[in-house]
Subunit: 295 residues, 2 copies
């Protein structure tokens, strides 16, 4: 997991103005119109990232920016407009974190992206969680559009990395469902922070690999792509660790036997029965070896 991002513009702006006020000084120079607008957005983003919108007032924003209430209203018609602008900036920042060079094993690229995503969740999530959970007082057609745009950007980034020319509906749905998984998982994490973020990061990547494998098992056209993907992976990366965790299950009493029966197919299905039996023999051998290796 990457460490927290360095203090944002808003942090610095808020601190500068706070210390200026504490010392009874005026800010050194007037900000230009553009600078002031940017400063107000940065301060609002910082506050809205930490607290739900109903707990942030225009007065809070004005105070943190070292500005007057009328000055804030001069730039923005009200709190909702500032909230939506903050959310748009947060969305842009989040989308930028999905960008990753098309280099190296896929699961390691995704692992780095998820590190940046979860870092964002940790620092900006508390305030925006209500919006994602639904029922936020600040929800609107505009906020939904911003969130959908981030989801769309995430989906397109992933499809770009998969480098599959014409992704099937099934594959697009797999990616979209995994994004929903990442969202809900990070929202649940924000509520209780019960596991280290590094674990979520690894698990989400492994769940993506598993979802991709399942999709390839259903869509023969994807199986070759899965083979290339697996060939590029490193044993010490998320996929390698997943493969070994799954192989470990074969050492658990009863699992090989149950999988054997399932792989054999229905009682009248000779062909799959043969395949299943062979598969089971392989699994049994793997289980034996895993047991021996563990000793």
């Amino acid at each position: 997991m990457a460490s927290r991002t360095p203090p944002s513009t808003a942090d610095r702006a808020a601190r500068t103005s706070a210390s200026a006020r504490a010392a009874g000084e005026k800010p050194r120079r007037r900000l230009s119109v553009d600078e002031r607008r940017e400063q107000l957005i940065a301060v609002a983003l910082e506050l809205f990232s930490r607290r739900p919108p109903e707990e942030v007032s225009i007065d809070d924003i004005a105070a943190a920016a070292g500005a007057s209430r009328p000055l804030v209203y001069h730039y923005f018609p009200g709190k909702q407009a500032l909230y939506e602008e903050s959310l748009r900036r947060a969305g842009q920042e989040l989308s930028a974190r999905f960008e990753e060079p098309l280099v190296g094993p896929l699961s390691e690229r995704l692992h780095r992206v998820m590190g940046r995503y979860l870092d964002f969740v940790q620092s900006h999530g508390p305030g925006f969680a209500a919006l994602l959970r639904g029922g936020s007082v600040a929800a609107s057609a505009d906020t939904t559009a911003v969130i959908d745009e981030v989801r769309r950007a995430a989906q397109e980034q992933i499809l770009t990395h998969l480098a599959i020319p014409a992704p099937s509906i099934g594959l697009r749905l797999t990616v979209r469902a995994w994004i929903a998984n990442a969202e809900i998982t990070s929202l649940e994490w924000l509520a209780d922070r019960s596991v280290p973020l590094e674990e979520l990061q690894l698990h989400l990547v492994q769940e993506f690999v598993a979802a991709l494998t399942l999709t390839a098992a259903r869509e023969p056209a994807l199986a070759g792509e899965l083979a290339s993907f697996l060939a590029d992976e490193h044993p010490d990366g998320p996929t390698g660790r997943l493969v070994r965790d799954l192989a470990g299950l074969f050492a658990v009493p009863g699992i090989v036997e149950a999988v054997t029966v399932l792989a054999a197919g229905g009682p009248d299905d000779g062909a799959t029965q043969a395949a299943g039996a062979a598969q089971a023999a392989g699994a049994a051998q793997a289980a034996e070896a895993a047991g021996a290796a563990a000793e």
Copy 2:
């Protein structure tokens, strides 16, 4: 997939009043206060299930119920109240569909539940989709509470069927994330209806089985539960089909080789290397057999 549910009370009420009006008749008898309230809710539920709330007016509801606009207002303060009551009823109906006897293979129970769930999505989803997608004009703290209650009911039902005494945080999260997957998958399906609903039904169940397997691979305490679960499954059920689909991947050139390298672990890891090599030998054998069986 189950066929569409029989015409609802609202359908019948709407048709009766429409034909009564067409014939210039008065309804045969006055409805009691309770009956009228229930009738208005049933009619509203029917309309709100088909169209987003902004496309349903109090006049539409009054007309469909064969009632006057003032009469509707006599029972409900406004459209939002009727919408929320309709959603509550829809939520109750949906939660009731999750109930399933604790009998038979787990994946087949879930398959039946998903059949009823997707049937509900097909008949009620079009109107409530905007709410789940976020940004609906009708979203409120109350609508969010109703939706969360349905999700909670789904999660508890699944955990009851898993029959694991004290489900870990990881397992609860797996179930919650899978519910999010089911939601987003059915919302995407509503938007384009591009695949047969039976496919979604099977895939969602198989994704649950895969998610459970992944969780067990991470949590040794769950591996025994996974073994019992697998032992109860039928070869012709969703899990059996999943096992054979996944086994089929081993016949794809390159996959066995890649998995072998990953299973072998890091270059200095002798023990896992041995396990990995054995695993690979088994996989190769399975691939050979699968290939032979396919001929």
